[in-house]
């Protein structure tokens, strides 16, 4: 099984990290040397059997890969009878796909001779995964998190603290994920000699989008083989939720050359695109430059970033990775919004029909699978990226479904 990250570079990725007109490096000059250092180190590590063996060992022994493929026979009924195959990233250590990227970059940090890791987090999933890898590998760890999010996700703050990380609440700007990313960049530029910025998705300046993609490629590589073994054919469609886009690119990448396989990315439609309260950068945003790359951004006519909204903290980001912008523009992948209400309905259905509590992020992909099933009919096979588990979301979901009485309301 080709699950190592030394897979071929996509033909549409340029040397400078451009995906067509998207991507690139819109960063202060002060960071260019560090970005180059990471790019060179990653390129070496990616082709180094020793590094790959070490990463492979961690992914199997520690993360629990390969993650299983589960057929959702009951949930299928709610997808117009289409065959639904769930790629179970929720069963990874720390509960989501995030750990794939984190372990790779943490190992790379050690290779570069750096001792300190910084990261941003929204919901706390990437922060917890980063704190975990740093505990394992003996790295100092500082997590930037919007003040607003530290309150919404207090339990994950405690988890990070238990793992030995320092969590710094970000009190500037809109005090959410994008501001945590800004703070991490500010820290990085001042501490670049000792510190690696372990970015959590396929966004940011080159080489982050391609490096993080490489590290999640394993999701699609495993799934492609598992689907072939299980069904004897390629799936008709692949569905994933898209925040920054890392789980989606990870599962898409292995199928991009398979022209018959339709790729669907589901963005957070929040309260509906028409309300302006959403986080759907591709369907509801426009092309701009944001946090290091040219991509789709939620912005006003003057290029000021507009705050995003989603019931799912992990999708609550006003931009998207540049490769998705390219895939959308070129038509290779299709992107559509899923509202909070549609995601929560899919969340409820998966809990009740399969006994699996999905992350609310992943519930967007499940809701999307229902739409695809309606379109393609009962003969279709749909592979869904179940990017994470919903333990972290129990409070939000209980409040949403009115299961907590008065107590839950404050967490909404």
């Amino acid at each position: 099984m080709n699950t190592n990250s030394a897979h071929p570079v996509p033909p549409y990725l340029s040397e400078g990290g451009h995906y067509g007109r998207f991507g690139g490096r819109f960063s202060p000059e002060a960071l260019v040397a560090a970005l180059d250092e990471v790019a060179v180190a990653w390129d070496k590590a990616k082709h180094d059997p020793e590094f790959q063996a070490e990463l492979h060992r961690l992914l199997t022994e520690y993360t629990g890969r390969p993650s299983p493929l589960t057929e959702a026979r009951n949930f299928s009924e709610y997808c117009n009878g289409a065959r639904i195959l769930l790629k179970r990233e929720d069963l990874n250590h720390t509960g989501s796909h995030k750990i794939n990227n984190v372990l790779g970059q943490a190992l790379l940090t050690k290779r570069m001779g750096k001792t300190r890791v910084i990261a941003e987090t929204g919901a706390g999933q990437h922060g917890v995964a980063t704190a975990t890898a740093c505990a394992l590998l003996g790295l100092e760890c500082v997590i930037y998190m919007g003040e607003e999010d530290t309150r919404r996700q207090a339990l994950n703050v405690a988890r990070m603290n238990m793992l030995g990380a320092e969590v710094v609440p970000v009190t500037v700007g809109s005090r959410t994920l994008k501001d945590a990313v800004n703070e991490a960049f500010r820290d990085w530029v001042a501490n670049v000699d000792t510190t690696h910025y372990l970015l959590g998705t396929v966004a940011g300046p080159h080489p982050f989008p391609s490096m993080v993609r490489d590290l999640h490629y394993i999701i699609g590589a495993e799934a492609r083989q598992q689907v072939l073994e299980r069904t004897g054919a390629l799936p008709d469609a692949v569905a994933a939720c898209v925040g920054g886009g890392s789980n989606a690119i990870g599962i898409f990448a292995a199928f991009i050359p398979d022209e018959t396989v339709r790729l669907y990315g589901f963005e957070a439609g929040g309260e509906g695109i028409g309300t302006g309260r959403h986080a759907a950068s591709i369907t509801g945003g426009s092309v701009g430059v944001f946090q290091g790359a040219r991509t789709f951004v939620l912005q006003d006519e003057h290029g000021q970033t507009v705050p995003s909204h989603s019931i799912s903290a992990g999708l609550d980001y006003p931009a998207v990775g540049p490769e998705h912008a390219w895939l959308a523009d070129s038509g290779r992948a299709t992107y559509a919004p899923v509202t909070d209400a549609e995601a929560m309905e899919a969340f409820r259905l998966l809990c009740r029909t399969e006994g699996i509590i999905p992350a609310i992020e992943s519930a967007h992909a499940l809701a999307g699978a229902r739409t695809i099933g309606a379109e393609l009919g009962p003969d279709a096979t749909i592979l869904v990226s179940l990017s994470g588990r919903g333990d972290k979301d129990v409070n939000t979901a209980a409040a949403y479904f009115g299961l907590l009485g008065d107590r839950g309301e404050q967490d909404r």
Binding site: R25, F26, P28, E29, A30, V32, V189, F290, G303, Q304
Partner: protein, 270 residues
């Protein structure tokens, strides 16, 4: 010759570094920001960088972040920034804009360059644009006759110093240290070294080099002025306005501060 090039040449002829002050348009409102800038010029700034406030200023420390947020909350638009540029040019100082790239791209790169030139602006500083990504901007700034100022940093390789200086016109902005904007107790030791390296890269062009980040008093200005062609100060001005009880007090303090810095650049041992 642009107004910027003229100002830098005049300062050089006087045997001193130029004083470059940064201030965001729209803090606390558009008209008041013009008054603050007039006070900066009255105190002795040769060149003004008019900041275009942006929602995600990754290169800026807390003071300028706070200043940008306040200017945005007051509803400042790029058109307002251009109005402030026009007013700045009328003071006799050279007027630049300092802007993150996305607002310029959304305005339209060619339109921004043309409107900037029409407003009497001399050039634009783009802190998150590196020459490799600047193709459209290089063409637009050439077409409109604007100076374009890229940044170099202590981490820049020799090759990148050369590339960046060659792409710059007016001056090259040397970031004194690895970090964001904001006042510091001391001028970073990395500043002088970087300027020396820039001199190597600009031996043929004679491109001036101005130093910014962390300079916040007359003594520091004097120190930097002893080896650079210009001294750039930003957070110190913003801080005084943010802390002042009213606009008159703010302007008086800004003028005094500019005068202290202007004295600094004139007292430098060169």
């Amino acid at each position: 010759m642009t107004a910027l090039q003229r100002k830098l040449a005049e300062a050089r002829a006087e045997g001193r570094a130029a004083l470059v002050g940064y201030y965001p348009a729209g803090l606390p409102d558009v008209d008041s920001s013009v008054r603050v800038i007039e006070a900066m010029v009255a105190g002795g700034c040769d060149v003004i960088e008019v900041g275009l406030p942006y929602s995600d200023p990754t290169m800026d420390g807390p003071v300028i972040q706070q200043a940008s947020d306040a200017a945005l909350a007051a509803g400042t638009t790029p058109k307002d920034v251009l109005a402030v540029v026009r007013a700045t040019a009328e003071t006799g100082a050279a007027a630049l804009v300092m802007s993150y790239w996305n607002p310029i791209e959304q305005y339209g790169v060619d339109a921004f360059a043309a409107d900037m030139a029409a407003a009497g602006g001399a050039g634009v500083i783009t802190p998150d644009l590196i020459p490799e990504e600047a193709g459209p901007w290089i063409r637009a700034s050439d077409a409109s006759g604007l100076d374009r100022i890229f940044l170099v940093a202590p981490s820049s390789t020799d090759q990148r110093l050369k590339l960046t200086c060659d792409a710059s016109r007016g001056f090259v902005y040397a970031a004194s240290l690895m970090g964001v904007t904001g006042t510091r107790d001391k001028v970073a030791a990395t500043a002088r070294k970087l300027v020396q390296r820039v001199r190597g890269a600009t031996r043929d062009s004679g491109l001036p080099v101005c130093v910014g980040l962390g300079i916040s008093n007359g003594a520091q200005a004097a120190e930097v002025a002893s080896y650079a062609d210009g001294v750039i100060v930003g957070s110190g001005f913003c801080r005084r306005v943010l802390d002042a009880p009213d606009l008159d007090t703010a302007c008086a303090q800004v003028r005094d501060f500019a005068a202290e810095l202007a004295e600094g650049v004139r007292s430098a041992a060169r």
